[in-house]
Amino acid sequence: MTRRTAAIVQFPGTNCDHDTVRWLSRNLELDVQLVRSRDDVERLPPGDTSVIVLPGGFSFGDYLRAGALAARSPLMDWVRLQASRGVAVLGICNGFQILCESGLLPGALAPNIVRQHVHEFVTVHVETQVVSPWSPSIVESGRLLNLPISCGMGNFVAPRKNDAYNILFRYTHNLLGSFESIAGITNPEGNIVGMMPHPERASDPLLGATDGLYMLDALARHLGIVVRTGSPLAIWRSTHKEKNR
């Protein structure tokens, strides 16, 4: 069996790229590649890319609007094509902003109501009705996850038509002022997910936060990806099963 590929999209100013690479490669048997340009795309291993992640950061300095310039880069045409083929796409923080700016997800992210950058661990509620390769609700519903947010523009503003998206996560305490406390959404098909909290920073017992592993767990189950032996996810899975029994 050929190894599956995950592409991590990197723009100038992206700064969570290495954390995201480590998040996937430590836990899953995936070939994780950083992609900076169309040339890098050509160099990806043959076969289909299964996973694309747009990590957090400040692409192009987030001047103009957060994600606005990255959304118009040629690399996003490739992401758009892959997304239309059903590849599992995840945008975290700035990645979410880029997905909205590029039209892959509806809505927009406005400045936080507090008008300042906020970094805090927050609790999000997993919505139950969503089918997505990234959704922990496949495994269990109604769960609360503790994840960090770190953003200046995380205030989700929804489009008028509410069938254009599904809600995946809601904040239990709506610090940023998001519409209906939305922290993360999927497209109607479920393969594209955008979220403000950072699961990649909450997937390690040493950091005192492991709830980000729920998403990798879901991804592995949904796409049939092998979990790396001895990885935080493998250990988490074994203890988690015991708890549920």
């Binding site: 100038p12 100013g13 700064n15 969570c16 290495h18 954390d19 480590r22 998040w23 490669s25 430590r26 836990n27 957090g56 950061g57 400040f58 192009f60 300095g61 987030d62 001047y63 507090v114 300042q116 950058h117 906020v118 970094h119 805090e120 661990f121 503790n146 960090p148 770190s150 200046g152 950072h198 990649e200 920073r201 390690d204 040493l206 950091l207 005192g208 936060a209 790396r228 001895g230 990885s231 935080p232 250990i235």
Partner: protein, 832 residues
């Protein structure tokens, strides 16, 4: 020299030189060195490089005493940052720098560019920044509230955008900073030991042998033959990359020089403006450039911009440098020569490359969308030569600017006279009358209010009057007043401030501000990329080492006694690293003082250096980099002496981290010296400062032996896996430390009888006050703990336990609720 007989023209030039920061004596010295009249540009260059900031002219003699060498030091002072080896083959580069004056004038950009500057110092040595800290000092009043809000925002926005976590630091308040706040930024970065890059030009294309002065006179046109001499074939080229140059940061004083030029270009001196996106690109291009070994020398452009980077590069390598200013990428048309030279535009670098590799560097810059241009060359003149519009603007011998810069040995006040003058320091913050700001809140005007409400203060003063009163006797009356105590800016939780800093980016922050785990020091795990470990073999990465970081100082102690005070204060930082599970390795300093022309200030500088140095020598924590910021004063009143220290340590395994917060129902022990009265005093504590509005000496002399015993006991307890949590007993002594820990966790604290029988003064004393520990609940923990304590010749007193407030009476529960709110919310309104 006499200025009595100078001509009108001489006077004009002398005043001009003064505008550029040169005193009359220094201007005369410059003329003497050159044996001719200097040009405007030369005065600007000398003014910048002979400034306190660049030349350390008043502190150099004292700084030479620092203990700087140990086997683990890879790079000591003299480079852009110091480096120590933290794991085999892995170095940690770190430094702290001040940005006080710009931050007072324009807090957002001032603080942001301070962070940018220190980041560049670290990454231009080839290190990838992994953590930022900041040490901040504010005074009282409305403007300080404004400064607090915007400096914090500036620091956060810059660091967050570049992607370097801000993991900790220290923020304190004292009315002595009301007119001169302090913003000190610290950065640490990881570098492979064989990938360290130094500012010195490292190849044979640099003519360092006998030097041949150019004989050029400013104002003359450059002939073709001379140009070939200045820019010789085959010599290293000087390449500029980064943002374009504008007039930012060109000293306001230069305005006066406008009269010397008839051109119509208006001068608009501005503060420096930070562009974190440009910095991020600069970071990536610099590290790639160094990784590919494309350049032979590299220097960031910090204070005094191109002038200092060009001269430093030449000075370190012993060669000459020629720059053609017209080749510099400029943001504005018609920049004058001295503006090119003094501009402090941010996010710029100067590197030296061999002619063969110049093209590759230019291409790399293009790939990263960073502007770059070849602007000059090294040569054998031994001079700093600048050409502007084909005319010589500046031809200064490099040694005049470096080794032969003025050095001053200012008079010191006699130590005993200083101690006598400062035996009692009054707290001069505005008293808070009963009707003014309500406790636990901020008035609508948002003004920083640093005093206890007067009725509370008076009640507390009665309770604390006698040194015989026990905690038991006073607790009932103190307890309901605690919400006022925790609303003081000195004691509140700094979380409303640190939530603007992203502390978890890069995914390695084990403990820092706003992280699930907290520790006495900030702890950051080494990145996988820097470990020889194979991720596949050890995906849990449990054997990865981590670094522990702390920074700060205790100015109240240091003002009373700079020698013992700074030793105590520095030792406390080491204790925090030990309490986090680490081993202190090295330090950096950022010495903030008033004017060196005051003998009392000079005494503070000299003694503070000796105090820090006593810790460096005795505890073997060398000082590997540093920065000095003098003239922090308004009129004749200097700021309190503030020698900030940043200390780094190492945890051999990330799993060795000890958390700071004690668990619910945890029994808490005070681990300390058997004769604590000898090592700590109430009279110079935070309590005395606020209640009696006074701190009184003497500061107890440091007992290094005790501290060594304590640190090794902590290390033994950690290896025996007995510790559940460990916190340093710091500001406000035992009482404040215990209550703050409880308040932060939302707990209450139940004192046991032993604690209640302690005297109030003992509970509130500061100094070498040991640590608080709670133990793992495993068999025989208690006996093993007792054995190690006994063997270390320390004592451990059980003082009580953390409990849930709900278990208390309704009334007590209500007070604890108020304490929690005062502690967590009092700073919030400043950031809204």
């Amino acid at each position: 020299m006499t200025v009595a007989h100078e001509s009108a023209d001489d006077k004009k030039w002398r005043e001009l030189a003064q505008g550029f920061g040169l005193s009359a004596e220094e201007f005369a010295r410059l003329k003497e060195c050159l044996k001719r009249a200097p040009s405007l540009e030369e005065i600007a260059v000398a003014g910048a490089l002979w400034s306190e900031h660049c030349s350390y002219k008043s502190s150099r003699v004292h700084l030479a005493r620092f203990h700087t060498q140990e086997s683990w030091v890879l790079q000591g002072p003299g480079e852009n940052a110091g480096i120590v080896e933290i794991a085999p083959g892995v170095g940690l580069a770190f430094k702290m720098e001040s940005h006080n004056h710009p931050s007072y004038i324009e807090p957002y950009q001032g603080a942001a560019t301070g962070v940018g500057g220190i980041l560049r110092d670290v990454f231009c040595m080839g290190a990838r920044p992994v953590a930022n800290l900041n040490c901040l000092r504010y005074g009282e009043g409305e403007y300080n509230a404004h400064l607090l809000k915007h400096t914090v925002r500036g620091i956060g926005d810059y660091g967050n955008s570049v992607g370097v976590p801000t993991v900790g630091g220290q923020t304190r308040f004292h009315s002595g900073y009301s007119k001169n706040i302090l913003v000190n930024a610290f950065t640490a970065g990881l570098v492979k030991a064989d990938g360290i890059f130094r500012g010195k030009l490292q190849n044979e294309n640099t003519p360092t042998g006998t030097q041949k002065p150019s004989g050029l006179i400013p104002g003359t046109a450059l002939t073709h033959a001379k140009r070939e001499e200045l820019f010789p074939d085959g010599a290293n080229l000087l390449l500029y990359f980064g943002s374009a140059t504008g007039r930012d940061g060109v000293h306001g004083a230069t305005m006066s020089s406008d009269t010397f030029d008839d051109s119509s270009a208006t001068l608009k001196p501005t503060v420096q403006v930070g562009d974190p996106f440009a910095e991020k690109k600069l970071l990536e291009v610099t590290l790639e450039l160094l990784d590919q070994k494309l350049c032979v020398g590299l220097q960031d452009m910090g204070a005094a911009g191109l002038t200092s980077s060009g001269v430093e590069m030449a000075g370190r390598s012993g060669c000459g440098v020629a720059l053609d200013l017209n080749l510099i990428p400029a943001r504005t048309a018609r920049l004058k020569a001295y503006e090119y030279l003094l501009s402090e535009s941010q996010e710029r670098m100067l590197c030296a490359v061999t002619p063969e590799k110049a093209q590759a560097v230019l291409e790399l810059c293009k790939k990263h969308q960073v502007a770059a241009a070849i602007i000059g060359s090294v040569n054998n003149t031994g001079e700093f030569i600048c050409i502007h519009n084909d005319t010589v603007a500046c031809a200064l011998p490099v040694d005049v600017l470096t080794e032969n810069a003025p050095k001053y040995t200012w008079p010191l006040q006699d130590r005993s006279a200083y101690l006598k003058d400062h035996a009692r320091i009054e707290n001069r913050s505005q008293p808070c009358s009963a009707s003014s700001t309500p406790p636990g809140g901020v008035s609508a005007k948002q003004t920083l209010q640093l005093s206890l409400p007067e009725p509370t203060r008076q009640t507390l003063a009665q309770l604390f009057e006698s040194n015989q009163t026990t905690l038991a006797e006073a607790w009932k009356e103190i307890f309901p007043l605690l919400p006022d105590w925790f609303a003081l800016p000195a004691n509140v939780s700094k979380d409303p401030l640190t939530r603007h800093y992203c502390s978890t980016v890069q995914g390695n922050t084990l403990a820092g501000c706003q992280t699930p785990r907290r520790s006495a020091a900030a702890v950051v795990r080494l990145d996988d990329a820097y470990c020889a470990l194979n991720m596949k073999q050890d995906p849990r990465a449990e054997s990865v080492p981590a670094i522990a970081l702390v920074a700060g100082c205790q100015e109240r102690w240091i003002e009373i006694d700079p020698l013992n005070g700074s030793a105590q204060s520095t030792l406390q930082l080491g204790r925090r690293i030990a309490a986090s599970g680490g081993r202190p390795l090295a330090m950096t300093d950022c010495l903030n003082f008033g004017s060196p022309r005051q003998p009392a200030v000079m005494r503070q500088i000299s003694d503070a250096i000796d105090g820090i140095n006593s810790v460096a020598k005795t505890m073997r924590i060398p000082i590997v980099s540093g920065n000095v910021s003098l003239n922090n004063q308004t009129g004749q009143t200097p700021i309190p002496p503030t020698p900030m220290v940043g200390m780094v340590g190492v945890l051999d395994r990330a799993t060795e981290l000890i958390e700071e917060n004690h668990a619910l129902n945890a029994r808490v022990y005070w681990l300390r010296d058997k004769d604590i009265a000898r090592l700590s005093r109430f009279e110079y504590s935070e309590w005395a400062w606020n209640i009696f509005r006074l701190n009184a000496g003497p500061v107890p002399e440091v007992d290094f032996e005790h501290e060594q015993k304590l640190w090794s006991a902590l290390s033994l307890l950690r290896s025996a896996q007995l510790l559940a949590a460990c916190s340093n007993v710091g500001v406000g002594g035992l009482l404040n430390t215990v209550l703050s820990l409880a308040a932060r966790s939302g707990f209450a604290f139940a004192w046991n009888e032993k604690a209640l029988n302690m005297s109030l003064h003992e509970c509130c004393a500061e100094g070498q006050t040991g640590v608080l520990v709670s133990l793992q609940s495993s068999p025989q923990t208690d006996t093993r703990f007792a054995a190690i304590v006994e063997q270390s010749n320390l004592e451990a007193i059980e003082i009580g336990k953390m409990i849930a407030p709900a278990a208390l009476t309704k009334e007590e529960h209500g007070v604890w609720d108020k304490i929690h709110r005062a502690c967590s919310d009092s700073l919030k309104p400043f950031f809204e």
